[in-house]
């Protein structure tokens, strides 16, 4: 998952980045509205966290502009101004949820998870498929009745495929959504992760959860259940 953070207070921004990295997010970040809008409209963002009071372009204008450019990823507003009129203005501009300052990072993470689930069409924190379930809150993956321990990167790949279940995700897109700009983005490494995931999720080669479409990418091929 690739998250965009636009927040002008540097310490808070660093706290947010740290917390989201821990959760396995790839991060784009800016402390300035103009740069933030550029990132918001050019990067393959999965979710944006935008402060309303920003130098350059204010948060509301950024949201209106990115919606006008048909960016449809969920947007969470951070705002010190928590009157209902401000909230309604923000939501009508195109935001999906708001968080009034001061807030606990845990609350923000919960809102982000909820927004991502909603944009993937899931209404609960448990993503359930035939034979596989993923708890986005605890980052736990269960195959059949057994918990499968995954590394952070393996979990990220699986969660991204699961939230876009049924769609074909190219290697390039997957890399875009999993890695920061400055990390080494070797497609071969991705292939290694996919192979390891398949071994862990499907040691007996019965489930075949991740399908490879030659030249196009990967797809989580399991049927959704439990909804």
């Amino acid at each position: 998952m690739r998250a965009l953070i636009i927040e002008d207070e540097q310490t808070l921004r660093e706290q947010l980045i740290e917390a989201l990295r821990e959760q396995g997010f790839a991060i784009d970040e800016s402390g300035d509205g103009t740069e933030g809008l550029y990132l918001a409209t050019t990067m393959p963002i999965d979710i944006a966290i935008i402060d309303l009071g920003l130098p350059g372009i204010d948060g509301l204008s950024i949201i209106k502009k990115l919606r006008a450019e048909s960016c449809s990823y969920p947007v969470l507003i951070l705002t010190a101004r928590d009157s209902w009129q401000d909230k309604v203005d923000g939501l009508e501009a195109g935001a999906d949820d708001y968080l009034a300052k001061p807030f606990h990072i845990e609350e923000m993470l919960a809102r982000i998870r909820a927004l991502l689930r909603r944009s993937g069409g899931f209404s609960e924190s448990l993503l359930q498929f035939e034979g596989l379930s993923i708890d986005t809150r605890t980052q736990q993956v269960i195959v059949g009745d057994d918990a499968v321990p995954l590394t952070a990167y393996e979990y990220r790949v699986l969660a991204y495929l699961a939230l876009n279940a049924g769609s074909v995700i190219s290697k390039a897109v997957l890399l875009d959504h999993l890695y920061d700009e400055d990390t080494d983005r070797d497609p071969n490494v991705l292939e290694v992760f996919i192979r390891r995931l398949r071994q862990k999720l499907d040691p007996d080669k019965k489930l075949d959860p991740i399908e490879t479409l030659r030249g196009r990418g990967y797809r989580l091929a399991l049927e959704r259940s439990g909804e």
């Binding site: 808070l12 706290q15 010190a80 209902w84 909230k87 939501l91 009508e92 300052k101 001061p102 909603r118």
Partner: protein, 456 residues
């Protein structure tokens, strides 16, 4: 004396009184003087006439030819006008036929000198007397000194003068009162603009108007315009302070967020320090929240324009449905004042005098509570006939403790209510500040929560 009109009235009354009294005294005095001078003239003529008719007889007696007397009244006994001649020893030498009594001569006055006086005669009546001491020369060198006096009754002249005085005082009194009344009218006319400025200032104080009108007289225009300027600058300053306070409070929230998130368990810092920081930031946060709310809502405009709450509710409903990802349905219904006018539904006749931003807070808190605490269906009913809005939901309903806290004790801004209570208390406080009320209960036909907002 506080009132300008009372001051003006009293001082005008004093000035007018002094003026009229002085006029009356001087007019009366000069009229009296003129009357006296005219009388003296007449009596002098009489005396000269009598002297002209007088001659000395061979035996040194004074003879007056009654045919040559200047005034026929001197021969009538009832006329009251008479002339007498008296020698230096006080003996009567001659008197006219009209004489009724003898009046003793005043002691020796120098020859040729006139003496005029008002005296009482022996029967107690007031008379005017003019005396002249003179010497009659006869038989070459012999002199007969005597005093001639003319007496006329004072009564008729005095009565006339008294009548004149009375009518003078009465007419002056009437014109004085008339002038005072006119002054009163002029005062009230000319002080009217001041009074209306006073009324307008009072209206400004009560929030019913925000400027003095421009229809003041030219003399007061500078005052009115400076008051208006003062009001505007005062209001701007007030607004500026509020914005500054607002900005201050809001700009503190970002650093508070940072502080709040220092206490992450993964940190290696001392746990007790983190706990304290957490407690204190929470306290700072709630203090900020409370005072911000007070500062923004403590001065509701009494004359907010009457607006329909419907657009506010609709915007809030669609926003909340977005947040709660359509898990909640919010239905808005309108009960018109008159059942027959069903087709006028779109006019949504319920209008309330509450500022826009405050309406958002009132309904936002209530609707958000309903969505947050597990309702799946919320109905908002606008009742124009009761000037009320009833919000029902099918959630778990209110805990009894909250109902009693909100309804029995009343809501105070510093009351610490947790969770659901906080937003409701804020809404209730806002309703109260606009003269309305917020009541909690349960829907008639089902379990759940009901909030009744009654508007003033």
């Amino acid at each position: 004396m506080k009132s300008i009109s009372a001051r003006l009235l009293v001082s005008t009354a004093v000035v007018l009184t002094i003026f009229f009294v002085l006029i009356a005294i001087s007019v009366s005095y000069s009229v009296h003087k003129r009357a006296e001078a005219a009388l003296v003239d007449r009596l002098q003529g009489l005396i000269y006439g009598v002297l002209a008719a007088t001659d000395v007889s061979a035996n040194n007696q004074l003879l007056v030819s009654s045919d040559e007397l200047p005034d026929p009244r001197l021969t009538q006994s009832t006329s009251g006008l008479f002339v007498e001649m008296v020698n230096q020893q006080g003996e009567l030498l001659w008197q006219s036929q009209s004489s009724t009594s003898f009046i003793p001569t005043v002691a020796n006055t120098p020859v040729g000198e006139w003496v005029f006086e008002q005296i009482e005669n022996d029967s107690g009546k007031r008379v005017h007397r003019l005396q002249l001491a003179t010497v009659w020369e006869y038989n070459q060198g012999q002199e007969l000194p005597f005093t001639i006096q003319a007496v006329s009754p004072a009564e008729s002249i005095n009565v006339q003068l008294r009548q004149f005085d009375r009518s003078l005082w009465i007419s002056l009194l009437i014109s004085g009162i008339g002038l005072l009344l006119m002054q009163l009218w002029i005062l009230s006319k000319s002080l009217q603009p001041l009074n209306s400025i006073g009324d307008e200032l009072q209206q400004i104080e009560q929030g019913e108007r925000d400027q003095l009108s421009n229809t003041v007289p030219t003399e007061l225009a500078p005052l009115a315009s400076s008051i208006n300027t003062l009001l505007t600058s005062e209001r701007n300053r007030h607004k500026q302070y509020r914005h500054l306070l607002d900005d201050l409070a809001h700009s503190l929230k970002t650093p508070l967020s940072v502080l709040k998130n220092l206490g992450k368990p993964s940190g290696s810092a001392d746990n007790s320090v983190i706990t304290t920081v957490n407690e204190q930031t929470t306290q700072i946060q709630s203090t900020l929240q409370r005072y911000l709310q007070r500062a923004t809502h403590s001065t509701p405009q009494k004359l907010a324009a009457a607006i329909s709450p419907l657009p506010v509710i609709e915007r809030l409903a669609s926003s909340l449905q977005k947040i709660y990802s359509n898990n909640v349905s919010i239905a808005i219904s309108i009960e018109t004042a008159n059942e027959a006018s069903e087709k006028d539904k779109n006019k949504h006749p319920l209008k309330v005098r509450i500022a826009d931003a405050d309406l958002y807070e009132i309904f936002g808190n209530i609707l958000d509570n309903a969505c947050k605490y597990g309702a799946t269906a919320v109905s908002v009913q606008l009742q124009a006939s009761n000037k009320a809005v009833v919000i029902d939901d099918n959630g778990p309903g209110f805990p009894q403790q909250l109902i009693s806290q909100l309804t029995e004790r009343g809501v105070r801004a510093d009351t610490q209510l947790e969770g659901m209570g906080l937003g409701l208390a804020a809404s209730a406080e806002l309703m109260q500040s606009y003269g309305g009320s917020l009541k909690l209960g349960a829907p008639d036909d089902s379990s759940g929560a009901r909030v009744i907002l009654k508007f003033a």
